[in-house]
């Protein structure tokens, strides 16, 4: 009986497998034009350990076959959606590392096949960190509802929630979450903030969770934008009083502005915070440590009220285009906790520009900033681009291949300094998506590619923006519900100290 069933179904199964397997056409004509694909992965440089790049072919045709090949290894995918299996993709990546994958898209119209102009994926031998994390947030202005901080494996498509604010939010007792950060790409020292109801900072110190209340009488606000010192056990924060105001016509839609901001550092061992820079005429923001942990970089804008009848907010509304941030740096003595006077590392304001979000490559060579015409919150500025400053030579250049006409911002370096991850609004001008670009040892960038998803149609329906992307070398292992217990609990008050100890 069994054999009879097998006899009947085996040929059918074989037929199905053969019928479903794409076959490359034997004859075709060639077209000089590239296929229209989304996402645009044409001639991008990719790491040797990335998940399959899936894309959708937007050319009209009756049938589609795509051939991905490198040397003797070949992979055929049929249909409009090109989504190679992970197993075959990895074989292909192995064969193409340090070389390229050739992508040929065949279109069949009226029984005649056309080969569109082939393109390549250049497979870098520089690997990429295995995980990234980001906040998923609707591109909202004031309101918020569902927010999550997620982690994603880059070798495949697996995504997990690190924390979801709905685990501790309810209607009028809502809780906003933001600003996740890690020490040295590892997750046993990390943090994120909770705002409004049960506000505080969830701080993980060597794997132990604590909820902190970082508000003190001597600082402007609780810690906001964090930066773990990669070597020493301190965290720098900016403290900000931030407001939002809306453009009536400008496509940038909104200006997010600080009316006051300073930089502080937090010493977890002593549970104290200390002001680093609190000049009332300067707006300081986005601190970041050098790889040796002995220099603190941050953005700083000198901005004073010209008419004393106005409040700072009114002044900023009138002169928002005059707010220009430079990148400053202070040396830090980890033994005495003393900071030197600031040096200007990148004087963007002299060029009539504003540079924020300084990020130093882990090899210490490059400073990457978001550069726009004015202001600090470049995620809302369409003119914002990534700009690379060589800390050895002082030369800077815009990352022309990685940038787009829309806003680029919130960048981070991979732990080997060869990849940058950043958010960009280039796809639809509103929803930030994550792009990855290769930067070689000489600081030359390559065309950025969109974070691949299992389905290339994902982004067209996904209604949240990717925010504050960070590389990680390991996943966060603490469960969301464990964080939730702390999120709902009381916070430990942080004290203020003038000497950091």
């Amino acid at each position: 009986m069994k054999n009879r069933i097998l006899n009947i179904f085996a040929p059918l199964l074989l037929f199905c497998v053969v019928a479903c397997s794409p076959v490359a056409p034997e004859k075709w004509s060639e077209s000089a034009s590239l296929p229209q694909i989304y996402p645009d992965y044409v001639n991008v440089t990719i790491p040797c350990n990335i998940a399959p790049l899936t894309f959708e072919i937007n050319d009209d045709a009756d049938e589609y076959v795509t051939r991905l090949s490198s040397g003797a290894v070949e992979l055929l995918v049929g249909g409009k959606i090109v989504a190679p299996s992970i197993k075959k993709w990895r074989e292909l990546l192995r064969a193409a590392t340090g070389n390229e994958i050739k992508v040929e898209v065949f279109l069949c119209r009226n029984d005649r096949w056309t080969l569109t102009s082939p393109f390549s994926y250049f497979v870098s031998s520089d690997s990429i960190d295995p995980y990234i994390s980001y906040r998923l947030i609707p591109p909202s202005y004031v309101g918020y509802e569902k927010l999550t901080i997620n982690q994603r494996s880059l070798a495949d498509y697996e995504e997990k929630v690190i924390y979801n604010n709905m685990l501790s939010s309810i209607e009028d007792k809502a809780q906003c979450i933001n600003c996740h950060a890690y020490k040295n790409y590892r997750t046993d020292n990390m943090q994120f903030h909770l705002r409004q109801t049960n506000g505080g900072t969830i701080f993980v110190n060597d794997g132990k969770i604590v909820k902190l209340n970082m508000a003190t009488d001597s600082t402007l606000s609780p810690g906001v934008y964090p930066a773990f010192n990669p070597v020493y056990d301190v965290v720098a924060y900016s403290v900000n009083k931030t407001g939002q105001i809306f453009h009536t016509r400008n496509r940038n839609k909104v200006e997010v502005q600080d009316v006051a901001s300073d930089v502080i550092i937090y010493n977890p061992a002593a549970n104290v915070v200390t002001n680093v820079s609190d000049s009332p005429d300067d707006l300081e923001v986005f601190p970041y440590w050098s790889p040796d942990g002995k220099k603190l970089y941050y953005g700083s804008a000198h901005f004073v009220i010209t008419d004393t009848a106005r409040t700072m907010m009114q002044e900023e509304i009138m002169r928002y285009r005059d707010i220009k941030y430079d990148i400053l740096c202070r040396s830090w003595n980890p033994e005495t906790f003393e900071f030197s006077a600031p040096d200007t590392v990148f004087a963007a304001s002299r060029m009539g520009k504003s540079a924020t979000f300084p990020r130093i490559s882990p090899d210490g060579r490059y400073l990457l900033v978001a550069l726009g015409e004015y202001g600090c919150f470049h995620v809302w500025h369409k003119d914002a681009d990534l700009c690379l400053v060589d800390l050895q030579t002082g030369y800077y250049r815009l990352l022309d291949k990685a940038n787009s006409p829309d806003a680029e911002s919130y960048h981070s370096w991979s732990s080997n300094s060869r990849w940058i991850l950043f958010s960009s609004r280039r796809d639809d001008t509103n929803y930030t998506r994550l792009y990855i670009a290769h930067v070689d040892p000489d600081g030359m960038d390559s065309k950025a590619f969109l974070l691949p998803q299992k389905s290339p149609e994902f982004y067209s329906m996904f209604d949240r923006s990717y925010n504050v992307p960070e590389f990680m070398v390991e996943p966060v292992r603490i469960a969301p519900h464990e964080f939730a217990e702390y999120a709902k609990g009381d916070a430990v008050n942080v004290k203020y100290s003038t000497n950091g100890m």
């Binding site: 509802e145 999550t148 939010s169 809306f246």
Partner: protein, 632 residues
């Protein structure tokens, strides 16, 4: 007639009475559903369309996954699926009433209710109808997708599960309850747990009826104890699987998301919104306990009276719960007409209000601006700021901000509120459509195309999306489109940084009256003048009037502007109005107005107002007697 004959005759009589009892109940039930259908499909058609606009169902896997990411996700998904049919009120009402009828039949079948008792089976349908017709302004604030159909579908699911359970051997009681609670909960939320509860009640009732102690233990008491334990443990266990809800939500999964605000009085929250729910659950539990005892024939007179009382109470209950606020109906009718650019209808609907809400007034003003008759009509409609008939705060930001901002050319603000509202309440058809229009009007085509792409995945709004897509391919068409003419012409001001502080009308008036713009369009200048008139701003009136005159060839100044010229020139004698043509009829009427004002001198404005009703179509009436307008 012997004794047997008498018994037979009595039996025949009883049978014919029972038939009569069954028959009129059948007719009553039929009439009930027909009337409900007609009321929903026609009387409440604007409301149904609005409810659909506050919902979204997409034929898309990501949408399905998002819906399934919370407990009761399947129920919500199916509810959202049915809600889309409300876009065509006749279809939506048909689906809803058909499901209500299915519920009635299911209750009758599950609890074995005889024809002569059939009105008992109608009660759950009555309660669910009452639940649905009471919402009013809640439609803007409920965050639970598919809420309109979810209670009905959830109850139907519970009853279907009970029906299956009753057909099984009692030995399967425990596994069925266990499986239902554990695996039914993520799909159907509390309805699965409720079904399990009903099953254990039925088990007890059956066992008691049979007088079997073993049965009582294994079909009744043990399942009941298990159900209670599962009702606590299952949501708690699933809490650790779902990563998107607080633990409290787990115990109300599948129920609508209106919260009980303890600051509000009892009647406006518990009674109004939750009572039908409570009665529904109690009635079904009672039916479970009385299982099969509602199938008897009983004494017909007593039963007839009982059934009549049930029928009357059912009608009264639904009528009591039916949200009958006239202003809300007008707002919905206006809104639907505005999407279809039926501007005259929008204005006419405003006449039906005794004291209108600010939404009605704003909508009417937009309609008149579109019609080009604001200057001659705007103050001849009822005006005021009626309180919103809702036991919670209703803000224009949720009800009409997007429509108002779009039409006044505040396109960024329109888009902003699309986003803010979609963030808080989830994307809805109305948000998407406003987003598309605001982006097309300011030529942000890439983003508009994204939202059009989403709308194209709906069943009833894809046609609208395709029409909008034509504007992307041929932008000049917007200049001739009745929906885009006003916003594009109104969007002629320079960029500024502003905030509305969530006060839509106040911001619009403030923004328009910031100063006359040079080079502004005629309609913008007119909107400025109208805003000045609304503000009763005598200082800036003449400047605004000059702005109105610039760039126009005016043969006859519209009526209200003539009225305003007279009143403001009376207040400021230094202004020379000899060059402004004023109709004799208006001058004469103004003289009458002044004379009457002299006659009632010394009275307060409130006391005077009734004596000036015949002037209620004038700006003078608005200026003196329409006071204390509150806009939120």
């Amino acid at each position: 007639m012997n004794k047997n004959d008498k018994t037979q005759a009595f039996a025949v009589g009883e049978s014919s009475n029972a038939n009569f009892l069954s028959q009129w109940q059948k007719y009553f039930v039929a009439a009930f559903f027909v009337v409900v259908w007609a009321m929903l499909a026609f009387y409440e058609s604007a409301l149904l369309e609005r409810i659909d606009a506050q919902s979204l169902f997409l034929y898309d896997t990501l949408f399905f996954k998002e819906m399934m990411s919370v407990p009761a996700g399947l129920l919500s998904y199916v509810g959202a699926f049915f809600t889309q049919f409300l876009a065509i009120p006749v279809a939506g009402a048909t689906v809803f009433v058909a499901l209500l009828f299915a519920l009635y039949k299911t209750v009758k079948r599950v609890f074995d209710i005889s024809d002569s008792n059939s009105l008992w089976a109608l009660l759950p349908s009555v309660l669910l109808l009452a639940l649905n017709v009471q919402f009013g302004y809640w439609i803007f604030y409920i965050k639970f997708p598919g809420w309109y159909f979810v209670p009905l579908l959830g109850t139907l699911f519970s009853l279907s599960a009970i029906e299956c359970y009753r057909k099984l051997s009692w030995k399967l009681s425990l596994p069925v309850i266990l499986l239902l609670a554990i695996f039914g909960y993520p799909l159907f939320g509390v309805y699965a747990l409720f079904a399990a509860l009903c099953m254990s009640v039925i088990g007890i009732a059956d066992a008691v009826k049979a007088g079997n102690n073993k049965l009582l233990i294994f079909k009744g008491i043990v399942p009941a104890v298990l159900t209670v334990i599962l009702s606590v443990a299952v949501p708690c266990a699933w809490y650790y699987v779902y990563q998107s809800v607080i633990i409290e939500f787990m115990y109300t999964a599948g129920l609508p998301g209106y919260s009980w605000d303890p600051r509000r009085e009892f009647t406006s929250t518990i009674l109004t919104y939750w009572l039908p729910y409570m009665l529904l659950f109690v009635s079904l539990l009672l039916y479970s306990a009385l299982c099969t005892r509602l199938n008897g024939e009983g004494k017909s007179l007593r039963k007839t009276i009982t059934m009549l009382v049930v029928a009357l109470l059912s009608v009264a209950f639904v009528w009591f719960y039916w949200y009958k606020d006239n202003n809300f109906r007008i707002e919905n009718k206006q809104n639907n007409a505005m999407w279809e650019c039926r501007w005259r209808d929008v204005a006419n609907y405003a006449k039906d209000a005794d004291v209108p809400t600010r939404t009605i007034v704003l909508n009417k003003n937009i309609a008149l601006l579109n019609l080009g008759t604001a200057g001659s009509e705007m103050f001849s409609y009822p005006d005021g700021s009626a309180d919103i008939d809702a036991p919670f705060n209703v803000h224009l930001t949720q009800t009409c901000s997007m429509m108002s901002y779009f039409n006044y050319g505040k396109l960024n603000f329109c888009y902003r509120w699309c986003i803010e509202n979609s963030v808080e309440y989830g994307w809805r058809v109305e948000h998407l459509k406003h987003a598309v229009r605001s982006l097309i009007a300011q030529r942000e085509y890439t983003l508009a195309r994204r939202y059009i792409g989403i709308l194209k995945k709906t069943l009833f709004h894809s046609g609208w999306a395709e029409k909008q897509e034509k504007f992307l391919d041929n932008p000049e068409l917007t200049l001739r489109s009745p929906e885009y003419v006003l916003p594009i012409q109104m969007c002629c001001y320079p960029d500024r940084l502003e905030v509305d502080d969530s006060y839509v009308e106040v911001y619009l008036i403030k923004s328009l009256t910031m100063g006359v713009l040079h080079g502004a369009t005629n309609v913008y200048n007119e909107a400025v003048l109208l805003a000045i008139l609304v503000r009763k701003d005598k200082e800036h009136f003449w400047e605004a009037l000059a702005g109105y005159f610039s760039g126009r060839k005016i043969q006859r100044l519209p009526k209200h502007y003539q009225e305003a010229v007279l009143i403001y020139s009376t207040m400021n004698k230094s202004v020379d109005i000899s060059n402004i043509p004023i109709d004799n009829s208006i001058r004469t009427r103004y003289s009458e107005f002044l004379k009457r004002a002299q006659r009632y001198k010394g009275m307060s404005e409130e006391e005077m107002a009734p004596h000036f009703k015949d002037f209620s179509d004038t700006y003078w009436y608005f200026y003196f007697f329409v006071r204390g307008i509150r806009s939120n």
